[in-house]
Amino acid sequence: MAENLKCSHCNNPATVHLTQIVNNKIIKVDLCESCAQAKGVTDPEGFSLADLLSKTNLTPENGEPQITCPDCGLTTADFRRTGRLGCAACYQSFVPLIRPVLEDMHAGTMHKGKVPHVALSRQNSAAELQGLENALQRSIAEEAYEDAAKYRDQIHVIKQAAEVEKAEAVQS
């Protein structure tokens, strides 16, 4: 239980432990005496843990990476301003900024709950199908007809399986 917390600013032993609820979430910060003074924490009017956090944990000392999502164009500055991501693909690009904050925000950093198996397998087979279609077109263009026949058969198998699944879904 006796955990020696370090100041999130200077690594001295932390003696000031703050908990605040901002936007329905708990934010915790540990500070040493002098950093607490310097940050104006002792002034109850003029401080918000959210600001404090955004200047500490969220921002690496050497300047944070400037990221732009290739899908929706969200930038690091946009993310800092709104606290929200722009699209599902952002979660790949913004991993370096997101991972560090999840620990403070949640009970863990790895998903443990429900998995949308049906939607995922459909997405995977759609992606697989697209890959095979591309390969088929390529091999036709290259006049590699043996390969083309192989890809065509594979596409046929996947499409048939999908048909069967659909029919079963309708029956149920």
């Binding site: 929706c72 969200l74 709104t82 991501l85 443990k112 709950g113 949308p116 879904a169």
Partner: protein, 362 residues
């Protein structure tokens, strides 16, 4: 547009035939979901938003749980209609601000609503009167699975369901109960309870107003964290905290009754008198009086089947509902008259308070 919904004789929160339970008014669970390949609503173009709307609407309208449900396009609702839906907890304030392509599906008995293009593409909510975490979860889980069969949901193995705000990642599940906690408030223990549950990652908000002495003593209590625990873990943790709060509330009520019997009975008696006779009542006062009436039912001073009437009035006495009932454009002062009229009518029908029941209680 929302008339059929208001006049419905089959709405879970306002027309429940169930007796309701002491302390817990209702349970709700919501899930956030997004589609792959389209930016989240805030960053989506209006044509992308309407694509999402079309895709989701087709799928949702097909689901058996949404049979005979209604769909409302937010752009087509008046401000007052939106306010009424907010007061019924069927839509959020954020959805009201949503531009084109925002809308909501509401099922027949108003236990399920699905908001489209809120903060996330989909916000699914199920609610029930009383303390019903498990059964509400079962329903929403089934609905979500059916929905997912026809929609490509954004998901990652690491972060779970991908949401616009990282605070909702993982299960994207928020489970909450609406609790009536007059005992803890009157005995001044509410601050302590709020601090204690905050430490456990649980949020407490006053339903009507802020802070630990919320109007009407009604609080919404929910989980903050969504990632790192399964749905079952989140709910069993919440469930045991809720049960503890319920126990504390019941204890606080009886302790207060024991130590301040005359004072408490006086407060309840006066509230009953005001509700039966007042001609001007603002919404804060009405909520506080109704809170004491709910307590009176729990103490058996009023018949148990009046509990659901009190719960209905908690909703119907809010400003939007009063205005809606009176027709558009009614001024705040006129609202207070209209609210008092409604309450006088309702409470004239109730039997007198049975003070003897409390004398036998503790």
């Amino acid at each position: 547009m929302i008339e059929s919904l208001i006049k419905s004789d089959n709405a879970e929160l306002t027309q429940s035939t169930k007796k309701g339970s002491p302390v817990v008014l209702s349970t709700r669970v919501r899930l956030a979901r997004n589609l792959v390949g389209t930016p989240f609503p805030e960053r989506a173009s209006s044509s992308q938003r309407s694509d999402v709307m079309t895709k989701c609407a087709e799928r949702i309208a097909d689901l058996t749980q949404m049979k005979h449900g209604a769909f409302f396009d937010i752009a087509e609702l008046s401000d007052l209609e939106k306010q009424v839906l907010v007061e019924r907890h069927l839509i959020s304030r954020e959805l009201c601000e949503g531009g084109s392509g925002s809308g909501v599906f509401i099922n027949k008995d108003q236990t399920c609503s699905v908001m489209i293009n809120e903060e996330d593409h989909l916000r699914i909510q199920f609610l029930k009167t009383g303390f019903n975490l498990r059964s509400v979860w079962k329903q929403i889980d089934l609905f979500d699975s059916n929905l997912e069969d026809g929609l490509d949901v954004a998901f990652s193995q690491e972060f779970g369901y991908l949401t616009a705000c990282p605070t909702n990642l993982g299960t994207a599940l928020r489970a909450s109960v609406m609790m009536h906690l007059p005992g803890l408030v009157i005995s001044e223990h509410m601050d302590k309870v709020i601090r204690a549950v905050n430490q456990l990652g649980i949020t407490v908000r006053g339903l009507f107003g802020e802070g630990s002495d919320a109007t009407g003593h009604v609080f919404q209590i929910s989980n903050q964290q969504t990632l790192g625990e399964s749905e079952e873990e989140i709910m069993s943790r919440l469930g045991s905290v809720f049960k503890t709060i319920i126990d504390h509330e019941i204890n606080a009520r009886f302790k207060y009754l024991e130590e301040n019997r005359a004072r408490l009975l006086d407060q309840i008696g006066r509230a009953f008198g005001i509700l039966q006779n007042a001609h001007v009542l603002n919404s804060n006062e009405a909520m506080n009086m109704l809170s004491l009436m709910r307590l009176a039912v729990d103490f058996e001073m009023l018949p148990e089947n009046n509990r659901s009437d009190v719960d209905r009035l908690f909703i119907e006495c809010q400003p939007g509902h009063i205005q809606y009932a009176a027709g558009e454009g009614i001024e705040p002062e006129a609202r207070d008259l209209s609210r008092a009229d409604t309450l006088r009518g309702e409470f004239a029908r109730l039997p007198a308070l049975d003070f003897d029941k409390v004398n036998n209680l503790g």
